[in-house]
Assembly symmetry: C2
Homo-oligomer: 365 residues x 2
DNA sequence: CTGAAAGCGCTAACAT
DNA sequence: ATGTTAGCGCTTTCAG
């Protein structure tokens, strides 16, 4: 049964109570910082705790109706810079509280939905004090249940406003608009756009921002320049390849995530296109890598780690103060201009988007 | 206290026992697949479980001496392809068992050691049935405790052989040797090497493999061509820059991780060096991105996802069968040849490395 | 085959 | 200020 470790370790509050001759309730009081324990007693308890190396048993603590001091985190996949960046903020914020983080990732595509839900069931049902949910695949499957149980949770980067849910999100529309305008002001007229994962709220918001900028500058929206992506590197790579091999290829591409933008960069290289000379590229997120790749990526920063930290703090507030009013917290986006964009090659007649630009193949690479 | 959800949900075994008029012990038996329950009774229990939507309370289960069906996972940071790849294997393997994964990452550099240890304490002390430890920062701080408690654990990618510990590791020496030989056979004579994080066992193993290949081919080891890295992108980038701007720069660089190799690629680009024309690059790990970047990276595959899966299965075996003998499981490495290497440019006098190649700028787009 | 009863370690009334 | 007493939901003897 594998329970060989059951009896071995486990210093309990009873042990430390016996050690110094008080009741275990008193020990519990001290441990939970309750009022009304004589300072001297408190100190003796603390000493014994230290001496015996007591470690709280979260199970028992939670079961007895106390808190577990555990925050559950649900992410839809770790393999991307976006999640990592968010995690960083969350981790730092959590290290300043006395909570622990339990992370559940539903990478596996099969049974993903099932997994996410049943995991949430378990979490609600005892394990965690609250839940942080990062752009989940099928939130509806269980958010309803969280609501029923009045279980503390916060949605991260999920601006879906229905139902007054506690949520942290970025000003996606505004961010996409600014980035597109920047490209337009640089002189670009044919700007490719790669969307995010279709079901994510931010996907349409960013697309709308892109369209709005186009409209504001009297450019017609060309659906041929829009490709469906998924926020991930591969999606960007594939879409970039498609866009750049178009007969009438764009001179700039705006990808809805940095991971995708980096994919576009590699696609461009594969086609022997220079960045930014031949093709300007803008990303979204400002993940760590954005400032590391060559050339450094111009992108819309949404301060992911700040979002993560804000979400965590909001959640802790809900846990410790269930009556707190629900908030929808928007984090501002901001265009970070680096080295991946420049005006389109001047040789093109601005009025007419030139025909096929067969990328020069003369240099060997 | 945030316990508003305490009473709300929670269908318990008592509920379902009452529902069908049996004792809760019988329900427990069915739930745990114990022998000796009348099939008819069993079926009624199962039906009621389904009907009432019962979800086990892990806390109570574990507390009562059963298993929690939770496996704890300790990683030292999520922000790299290496960990991600490992995680993928683990996640897939775990989805085929009836265990859940709880992930703890000790990203924050401050108090890292403290955190790792105290988390392990909590995990041992009730939360998990077993622990998977991925190249931890300070394993010694708590492995001893795991041993004392006879708590099931498996070290992943930690070939430190001291103490007969259950471990999964790759044939690092052999892999590095093969990669270096490949480069030598291509005609390279000055081969740069970037090490991993200093304290990780694989770091010295790979370096030794590199040295062994050099020696086997009568090349002298030149310490000036070795740079200290850390397995991460930035370290590779920095070291790559240093190596490539050496007066007598190498014609090939072997980085101890793909993340670093990709950093080297960007460093090369920044110096206007073409890959592989001007500089050959080899990585280690074969992370997902290795076959995605342009040009595709030649690398030493260590089948990370397979390692992850193997580790998980090994751990489950220990949990369910504590008497299993401890194993040290080696996973074979294998050189995967892609597009990032070629023979050194013949035009160069082998002794002296030429300056920069300005990539052709002739095409307009 | 199934029920009764005793905890697991802890928190939270309720006493004192 | 501190001790006593119930449970939390579950697994596991021990009796039938």
């Amino acid at each position: 049964m594998g329970q060989n470790h059951k009896k071995s370790g486990g210093v309990t509050i009873v042990d430390i109570a016996r050690e110094i001759g008080v009741s275990h309730a008193t020990v519990s009081r001290v441990l939970n910082g309750h009022e009304g324990v004589k300072p001297a007693t408190r100190q003796r308890v603390l000493d014994a705790v230290e001496r015996l190396g007591y470690v709280a048993n979260l199970q028992a603590r939670r079961l007895a109706g106390g808190r577990s001091h555990v925050i559950g985190l649900i992410v839809s996949g770790l393999t991307n810079g976006y999640t990592n960046q968010l995690l960083e903020g969350i981790e730092i914020a959590v290290s300043e509280t006395d909570y622990d983080l339990l992370l559940y990732s539903s990478i596996s595509r099969t049974r993903r939905r099932l997994h996410e839900s049943s995991y949430v069931d378990r979490l609600i049902n005892g394990l965690a004090d609250g839940l942080l949910i990062i752009s989940p695949f099928f939130p509806e499957a269980y958010i309803e249940r969280l609501e029923q149980h009045n279980f503390p949770y916060v949605l991260v980067d999920h601006s879906d406003q229905r139902g007054n849910r506690p949520v942290i999100y970025a000003t996606n529309h505004q961010g996409a608009l600014e980035a597109t305008e920047y490209l337009i002001q640089l002189g670009h007229r044919r700007i490719g756009f790669i969307t995010g994962w279709q079901l994510h709220p931010s996907t349409s918001e960013r697309l709308e921002g892109y369209k709005a900028a186009l409209a504001a500058h009297g450019l017609v929206f060309d659906a041929a320049l829009v490709r469906q992506g998924d926020f991930l590197y591969e999606g960007g790579y594939r879409a970039g390849l498609e866009l750049l091999t178009l007969p009438d290829a764009p001179t700039a591409i705006f990808a809805s995530s940095d991971d995708m933008a980096i994919g576009v960069m590699d696609a461009a290289r594969q086609l022997n296109l220079r960045i930014p000379d031949d093709i300007s590229i803008v990303g979204f997120d400002d993940i760590h890598q954005a400032s590391l790749v060559y050339p450094k990526l111009t992108t819309v920063s949404q301060s992911l780690s700040q979002m993560g930290a804000a979400a965590l703090n909001m959640l802790v507030d809900y846990i410790e103060n269930p009556q707190s009013p629900r908030r929808q917290h928007a984090v501002a986006t901001r265009l970070v201009i680096r080295d991946s964009c420049q005006p389109p090659a001047p040789s093109y007649p601005p009025s007419r988007q030139v025909a096929v630009h067969e990328p020069a193949k003369e240099h060997n690479m």
